[in-house]
Amino acid sequence: MAPQAKPGGGNRLERNDRLVRLALLVVAFSAVSVLLVITVFIVGQGTPIMFRYGLKSFLAGSAWYPSEKLFGLWPMIVGSLAVTAGALVIGVPLGLSCAIVLTEFSSKRVRGLIKPIVELLAGIPSVVYGFMGVIILVPFIRETFGGPGLSVLAASVILGIMILPTIISISVDSLQAVPPSYREGSIALGATRWQTVKMVLFPAARSGIIASIILGMGRAVGETMATIMVAGNAAEVPGSLLAPVRTLTSNIALEMSYATGEHREALFATGVVLFVIIMVLNTIANATSAKRRKQP
């Protein structure tokens, strides 16, 4: 299908051009349509049961006993939000500091060495993070702070580490994209390096940094394997950082293998709730970054 350039073949070239454009359009739309199919499927499978039992009992009910037809997702909703918030509390300060050090306070050689390593971190499968969590972190928490060790805290730490590469690499890119004249101007005005970072670079790179946090948050909300391994998966609203917790994703993966009938539908409904939460989080985050971009 490669267009062949022949002198005087204008019509043919034009036709080839149109063909290629059409082919690319089809490919592009097939990617979008996969998303559409997934959405339609999950919503189609998951929503009927939500309305059969009432949206309120589904979202606000705190008892998850599928064998007794009790499908309260509240503990898992709280669980997902708690673990994600915990991951951000740990991952954002660490990730941003690392990004600042890499762009502003280190030589090109150090940066060239560390950045690929950080990006490599993103390629480690989540089951490996989970395994490390179970072997090292969980016993540490159990012996130091008490409780079963499998906890909100363990999940937050593991997820916090897992979102680091996302936050670091995107923040570094956006800090590096700030025009050199900003930096030079600030230094020329007598600002220190840190003042430059705080008052010039950060505001200028804000949208990229927020984007990095959104993407990190998305990974934390969606992570399943590592969470199942270290969170303990109790279907109850956690009373403390040391209590076990079940997230929406864990709920689906944990029970999927044996679920039949309404239990299975309820797991699809869990997927619908997850879908909505992710969309709401993304919308809020996008809106804040857009608003900030408008006011200089």
Binding site: P75, G149, A234, P244, S257
Partner: protein, 266 residues
């Protein structure tokens, strides 16, 4: 990974059904599906059976007891495997006990509590008994470890120990016998339940109502936590299905049961 199992099962069942159509339900294909607790044993039986009868294909699928019973009713497999008793409409199916499995209540080897009443186990899993101190152990909170909803082992525990009482929602939940054992092996305050055949020296099975979790005590009825491993079919099995079941019930088939830590039927 367990979460992958379902699509594969569906695919496999689909393939099984279609291949059945293609060769016109020939007599040399046998499909089993159901309880993942029975699956590893059924795999071994199938392996030995196929060695003895070359040319015969025996296909073993997981999916869980309920899925196995459904597959059996729909005809997607000739033999369903269930690790729980049949209930309601299911009772019309032909069932035969091929082995039995004890359920062990396990704790950390360092735990001084070596015996429990079944009533106490029930209270612990209901979340009403919270400290080992009340049971003669160190005064520390009990870490309760359970299986996920839908699991056959959980179903058996619910039926044999809990009755109508719920397992409390604050319990740590894991999706396999292996991970339950792993957690109990590393947490001195943990308690969980697994198949008796899977107890190893990393954990200790406690005595229940004065009876140690041994084969002998199960046989004489003093150890109460036992579940049947059932083979199920629509009507009396015939042909290859009958041959396979006969093999499983034979001395050779039952020797394997014993070897793998289950309890033979006789």
């Amino acid at each position: 990974m367990t979460r992958r199992r379902c699509p594969w099962l569906l695919l496999a069942l689909g393939v099984a059904v279609f291949s059945g159509c293609r060769i016109g339900r020939s007599q040399d294909e046998l499909t089993l599906a159901g309880s993942t607790s029975i699956q590893p044993f059924a795999d071994r039986w199938a392996e030995i059976f196929m060695e003895k009868r070359p040319g015969m294909g025996v296909d073993v699928q997981g999916g869980g007891s309920s899925a196995g019973i459904q597959a059996c009713v729909s005809g997607a497999c000739q033999i369903g495997m269930s690790s729980r008793d049949l209930k309601g409409d299911e009772k019309q199916l032909y069932e035969i006990v091929v082995a039995r499995d004890g359920l062990a209540i396990i704790v950390h080897p360092s735990n001084p509590v070596r015996a429990l009443a079944v009533a106490a186990v029930k209270q612990i899993f209901a979340g009403d008994l919270l400290s080992w101190g009340l049971l003669g152990g160190e005064a520390r909170p009990i870490t309760v470890v359970t299986r996920e909803e839908g699991s056959g082992t959980r179903g058996a525990f619910q039926e044999l120990v809990m009755g109508k009482t719920r397992i409390y929602s604050g319990a740590i939940t894991q999706d396999s016998n292996g991970t339950v054992r792993e957690i109990v092996a590393h947490d001195p305050a943990a308690i969980g339940f697994i198949s008796l055949g899977l107890v190893n020296d990393q954990v200790r099975a406690v005595d229940l109502d004065g009876a140690a979790a041994t084969e002998e005590n199960i046989r004489n009825g003093s150890y109460k936590l036992v579940r049947p491993f059932l083979f199920i079919s629509r009507g009396e099995p015939t042909g290859l299905a009958k041959e396979f079941i006969d093999f499983v019930l034979s001395a050779e088939g039952q020797a394997l049961v014993k070897e793998e830590g289950l309890l033979p039927i006789k």
